[in-house]
Subunit: 491 residues, 2 copies
């Protein structure tokens, strides 16, 4: 059959949008009613097809994003792994959160308890807004798409303007693989253009949205999503400063290592990660400051595109122009479009006096070193941060940092101990999402298997005959999924 | 110590609000850091105190709500049971969703997996907007308060204008019990007045909101919650029509029983339940129609208050005045302020022609009977409904209704088989919440143990030493809570 997928990267027309939305709406029932194991097979097939298309897709990605080939090959591998781990999750079935309460005439509430069985079902068509900085892993076939499809939802991807041709080519591979693996027609589409994205988001057939990008862009789309007659959940991953706190003891015992690792982390990928550490708190006049100054800051590498480079330069100038801020170290002179990686420095009193300004996310290869005197100041500073994706401690095991850990856990989605926030592993326990503005829905994650929960909702069946219940709620439990029976976990 | 709790039901002043918000903010850390078992003991103590205060509280509730004593005593029992079942949940620990991924250098993603451990932590102070129709169970010490406190959050209750004195008195019992059980000062407050509610909702120290009430009221508050600089989750339970679908076979085999049970369900508590069945689909010219006409519709009982009675009368007149609608049966003439329970009737073609109008929720003792010919029309009608709290089938085991069940599961949070939606049991598998406008967050429930999830968010700890991890994430698992270890459930 002919695949109804975009053949060009021109802005999608309103006729095409209507056809895609109608197709997504129609595809929902058939996709949702496949068994989780059947959907897992389809996701595996998409992963295989993308792996097989690597040599076709990677050159397109290089030409559109300036990212180096090894990074892009690694990112594609991560992307296909992600599709497969959702397949594994579907086969295990725990994500269904199956709960069975048997009828209980003596229920101590004071009224008999009926037979109640609760599980999660998919929401309906989902729109996914791609990110600029992960052309594979947070784009066409990335985490939002994988988790929404895994949950049982059709997906419409809004292409990021930074890699239109890659989006078209990836979309074609995905659509063909879905079709060949027996997914319902119309399950997956790609649309191009800002207006197309808005139109899809506002359409009543769309039931949720995923987004990765800037705070202003994400907030504007979130405001649209909640303004609808039927507001829908908007899962936006926006911005983060990702502060790192180094204790006196850690600076003393391994200042040079911390300096080297920190420079590696903030300059990695030209600092174009949402988890780039943007602030480093270090003891004043410590070896660590000297070690940072002595570090060979790498030369700049080209950024994703001109707009991102301009944004970086502008915010960096703003930060560097702050009365209290000076340059601590800098990479070699920029050549071409590459900016010079830059380490700024200020004092803790200045940060505490103007935290909002000095904690602005600067997307690119820069960071702000903040010198402090007492660990009580660290606590004070930690309390000034808005919601973060990550917060990191560099500390020794016998440091007294329990209170700081507690403050940071209340600020961030992931708290790290003696590691670095860049590099977000796709696992069962990963949490990529924190209080606003790090994300628009702090109760969710966009990375890891729990990401599927965003695109599901619970439904309870009361007093149903076995043959009309979803498999996971039947007493016979034919797929052997974990169940919570009368409040107790049963495998 | 002196309890800082409202001594009168006058509108709360801005000075008092500031003092309550500041106290709630301060109380958060100490309450969140208690062990779940310690919080469970405190919730039990609140339940005991409310049970002990029944003879003091019930007369106040009767005088303010017109509800009969047995109903109110039952509701109070439900309320204290609810506090205790959250305690049980805290002691079992599964709600913490503890996940442990051990470090894995060979992780097939292509990069080593770090040690990652994820659990849920409380959000911070929560505002709870009380409901008119459940002065205990969805009010001061009701489900939102119980689940928010259980999760580890301070609570500020906005009193419903329909039972101000009961709110004050219940609040006093709760605050005293919390204090005596060792909860931190300032954990719980009650505020009075519309403006006070808005002020609290918009305050940056408040991190989530619970609400039970009307669609316009709930939407207005939700719009405020998401308009904040830091938008917060707004868990609103708004309106629902709760349609019931009777198949030909069911009408034939037990029409009289269905008629009797339906009349009992829609008139129960003067129809003042969010789960009152508002529409009954029956086969045209069936015995069931005759049985409904033959039912002795009970006499009216006083409604909660004059405003609610006026609203009921207005919507009922609007529905009854529809060209296609006539009165099928009615209770005895109203006396005093009690409205006459009323059963209206229309045809399926008329409902399909004007579904939005004919599906308007009419809060009070009325329902609309809709006569249909074919079960295909039932499917068509089911598809016209907006999001619902419940949808019910009255059918026989060999009816072919799988598609109808599937459509209804996509419309409602709870689907019932041969039972009635009124009476919402507090259990592990309960789901009270469906797609908008039934609720503003369809992924959540306001009844049952899963309600606690609304007031928690996940946080991951990467590479942490054991002594700095929450107990549920430690390898030794001292509280013996369920853990997901490397993706596999372990009890």
């Amino acid at each position: 059959m002919a695949l109804d997928i975009a053949q060009s990267t021109e802005n999608t027309t309103s006729e095409q949008l209507e056809s895609y939305l109608s197709a997504a709406h129609s595809a929902f029932g058939a996709w949702a009613e496949k068994t989780p194991a059947q959907r897992a097979d389809v996701l595996d097939a998409v992963g295989d097809a993308l792996d097989a298309a690597a040599d076709q897709l990677i050159p397109v990605a290089i030409s559109e994003t300036n990212l180096p080939e090894p990074r892009l090959r690694g990112e594609l591998k991560r992307t296909t792994f992600q599709l497969r781990i959702f397949g594994e999750l579907l086969r295990a079935g725990g994500y269904l959160d199956a709960r069975i309460d048997h009828a209980d005439p003596q229920w101590p509430m004071g009224a008999p308890r009926p037979d109640l069985r609760r599980t999660r079902i998919p929401l309906g068509p989902v729109v996914v807004f791609s990110a600029s900085n992960f052309p594979f892993a947070f784009s066409t076939a990335g985490g939002d798409t994988a988790s929404a499809l895994a949950a049982g939802n059709p997906v419409i991807v809004k292409a990021h303007s930074g890699h239109l041709e890659l989006t078209r080519a990836t979309g074609e591979v995905v659509a063909k693989a879905l079709d060949e693996a027996g997914a319902p027609a119309g399950l997956f589409h790609v649309v191009f253009g800002t207006e197309a994205g808005r139109t899809v988001l506002l359409d009543s057939r769309i039931k949720a949205a995923g987004f990765t990008g800037s705070i202003p862009g994400g907030r504007a789309l979130m405001d649209l999503a909640v303004s609808r007659d039927e507001p829908i959940p908007f899962y936006g991953e926006l911005g983060s400063n990702n502060p790192v706190f180094v204790t006196h003891a850690a600076a003393d015992s391994r200042g040079e290592q911390i300096a080297a690792d920190f420079v590696g982390s903030f300059t990695m990928g030209s600092g174009q990660f949402c988890t780039k550490p943007g602030t480093l708190f270090i003891p004043r006049n410590s070896n660590l400051r000297a070690a940072l100054q002595a570090q060979a800051i790498p030369a700049g590498a080209p950024m994703l595109n001109e707009r991102i480079r301009e944004g970086f330069t502008q915010v960096l100038q703003q930060l560097a122009g702050h009365d209290s801020v000076s340059v601590l170290a800098q990479g070699q002179e920029p050549f071409g479009a590459a900016p010079s990686p830059t380490l700024l420095v200020t004092g803790i009193e200045d940060l505490l006096a103007d935290p909002h300004m000095l904690q602005t996310e600067c997307f690119g290869p820069s960071a702000l070193v903040v010198e402090y005197d007492t660990e009580d100041q660290l606590l004070q500073a930690a309390r000034t941060f808005e919601g973060q994706l990550t917060a990191t401690l560099q500390a020794e095991d016998d440091d007294h940092v329990a209170e700081l850990v507690s403050v940071l856990a209340n600020k961030a989605g992931r708290v790290l101990w003696n590691q670095w926030p860049t590099g977000v592993s796709v696992t069962y326990a990963q949490q990529h999402g924190g209080p606003y503005p790090a994300t628009t829905a702090a109760g969710s994650t966009s990375v890891g298997t729990a990401a599927i929960e965003r695109f599901l909702r619970p439904v309870a069946f009361q007093n149903f005959p076995q043959h009309l219940l979803p498999a996971q709620l039947q007493d016979a439990n034919p797929a052997a999924v974990p169940q919570l029976v009368n409040g107790k976990p049963v495998n």
